[in-house]
């Protein structure tokens, strides 16, 4: 049952301490800043976060890490010129890092959404990131066994949603959104606006509404259809 939240704070309710949370974005593109800020305000802690990076500068995921809400991060590229909050937490031994090649990260998330129990990828074979993992030679090529990354919740950003929960994205901000939406038990999406069902061309939908649980719109005009009636509007008719 799709819910439309009046605010980002309403939208992120239900994420518990210790939850595994997929957070969309590649750098800042596609990073759901409003939802992350709300998660920060909620005080939730002890999180395992899955993201390509480990935060940039002083916004979004970086602040969540600065405030020590993240117990463990699963990512491909934590070290950047402006990843100072992660760097400090890591050197202090206050955050656990699971480093995953970027394509393996995306494929493990996809596998969770697609009900795949595990898969063999050639990426990383013979490297230290395959140490301790099952390997297999298939048709003369080496492969590493990788497992799905399931999650309690996903926080992602899309361009628009319709009232059936269908999503479209914008340019390279699409990145991890579609696979994360499918992999989490509870998917929360920050969009610019929510339009009526029928306003998105069915051929152009990137994430079908079946994967979306909660929407929150940044544009108050259309977003706050819910506001008069409390924080969460149940969408009974698309």
């Amino acid at each position: 049952m799709l819910l439309i939240a009046a605010t980002a704070d309403d939208a992120i309710r239900g994420i518990s301490d210790g939850a595994t949370v997929l957070i969309g974005g590649f750098g800042n593109a596609g990073q759901p800043m409003d939802l992350i800020d709300a998660l920060l305000r909620s005080g939730t802690t002890g999180l395992t976060v899955v993201n390509n990076n480990a935060g940039q500068a002083d916004a979004g995921l970086a602040v969540l890490i600065r405030e020590r809400r993240v117990r463990k991060i699963i990512c491909s590229f934590p070290r950047q010129s402006d990843s100072w909050h992660f760097d400090a937490a890591y050197r202090a031994g206050e955050i656990e890092l699971e480093l995953v090649p970027q394509g393996t990260l995306a494929e493990r998330i996809r596998a969770a959404g697609a009900g795949i129990g595990g898969f063999f990828t050639p990426t990383g074979y013979g490297t230290m990131l395959a140490e301790g993992k099952e390997t297999r030679v298939i048709d003369g090529r080496g492969y590493v066994f990788e497992t799905p990354i399931h999650a309690d919740a996903a926080l992602i950003k899309a361009l628009k949603a319709d009232r059936s929960g269908n999503l479209i994205y914008r340019k390279t901000a699409r990145n991890f959104g579609p696979v994360m939406a499918a992999a989490a038990r509870h998917t929360i999406v920050q969009v610019s606006e929510v339009v009526q069902s029928g306003e998105l061309d069915p051929e152009h939908v990137v994430t079908p509404g079946i994967y979306v649980d909660v929407l929150v719109a940044a544009e108050p005009g259309r977003a706050a259809a819910a506001q008069g009636r409390g924080g969460l509007e149940r969408v009974d008719t698309p």
Binding site: G113, A114, D162, G198, P202, I210, D236, T237
Partner: protein
């Protein structure tokens, strides 16, 4: 006690039991009848495994479009809020456990929820499986719609399927012309009977049956799936 149900009656019963807002796949054959009994107020979204969510009623006349068909290859229509996707994405929806309910026909269902609905196992039969195994394995709830007895009077709810299996322990409900069965962790409870008393039913079926609960309700909570 009401009379036995006909196919339309079973379809109406199932339609009424699907929780509002559900994403549902109706298997080819009998279960497609269910769509006719869904109401707009239920806000049910239909999935067809050949690549669509938001499938509408059968197409007629000018609506018929060879590029818009259902899993049974019959022309259908598109509702507002629909979406199209390719086959791997469509079966990821199924295998990934995202469908709330799927309703399938069956040759046999076992008391532990095993399903046989794709192959009679006959020597000269040409096997064809389609999406049956994916649906049986993937949906959160797998409901079966079938006649309780075959033409020669043999029960299709059995201790152990003799036909080749489609999926193991996957069926949670069985809707038939004479009764509705709720399957849960190896036990089979009769939710209601139609045209026969519980005792009469139990004597004709080789699976231990629990009687209807004291106050049966038509829309009781779907049984949870183990695992």
């Amino acid at each position: 006690m009401n009379g036995k149900l006909d196919r339309g009656g079973i379809a109406r019963l199932i339609a009424g039991d699907i929780p509002p807002g559900s994403y549902v796949n109706l298997g080819i054959g009998q279960p497609t009848l269910i769509a006719d009994h869904l109401t707009p107020e239920q806000n049910i979204t239909l999935h067809t495994e050949n690549g669509m969510l938001g499938m509408g009623p059968a197409a007629t006349g000018d609506q018929i479009d060879g590029d818009l068909i259902n899993a049974g290859k019959l022309p259908v229509t598109e509702l507002p809020g629909a979406s199209y996707f390719h086959h791997a994405d469509s079966f990821a929806i199924m295998r990934g456990g995202h469908l709330d309910v799927c309703v399938l026909g069956a040759f046999q269902v076992s008391g532990t929820g095993d399903l046989a609905n794709w192959h009679t196992g006959a020597e000269d039969a040409i096997p064809a499986v389609g999406g049956a195994m994916d649906l049986a394995t993937g949906a959160k709830e797998v409901w079966v719609m079938m006649s309780l007895f075959d033409r020669d009077g043999t029960a299709k709810l059995v201790p152990r399927c003799s036909y080749p299996l489609t999926g193991i322990g996957c069926v949670t409900r069985v809707y038939t012309n004479e009764a509705v069965f709720l399957l849960d962790a190896g036990s089979v409870r009769v939710r209601a009977t139609y045209g026969v008393p519980f005792t009469g039913l139990a004597s004709r079926i080789d699976v231990p049956l629990l009687p209807p609960a004291a106050r049966p309700r038509a829309g009781d909570k779907p049984a949870g799936r183990p695992g």
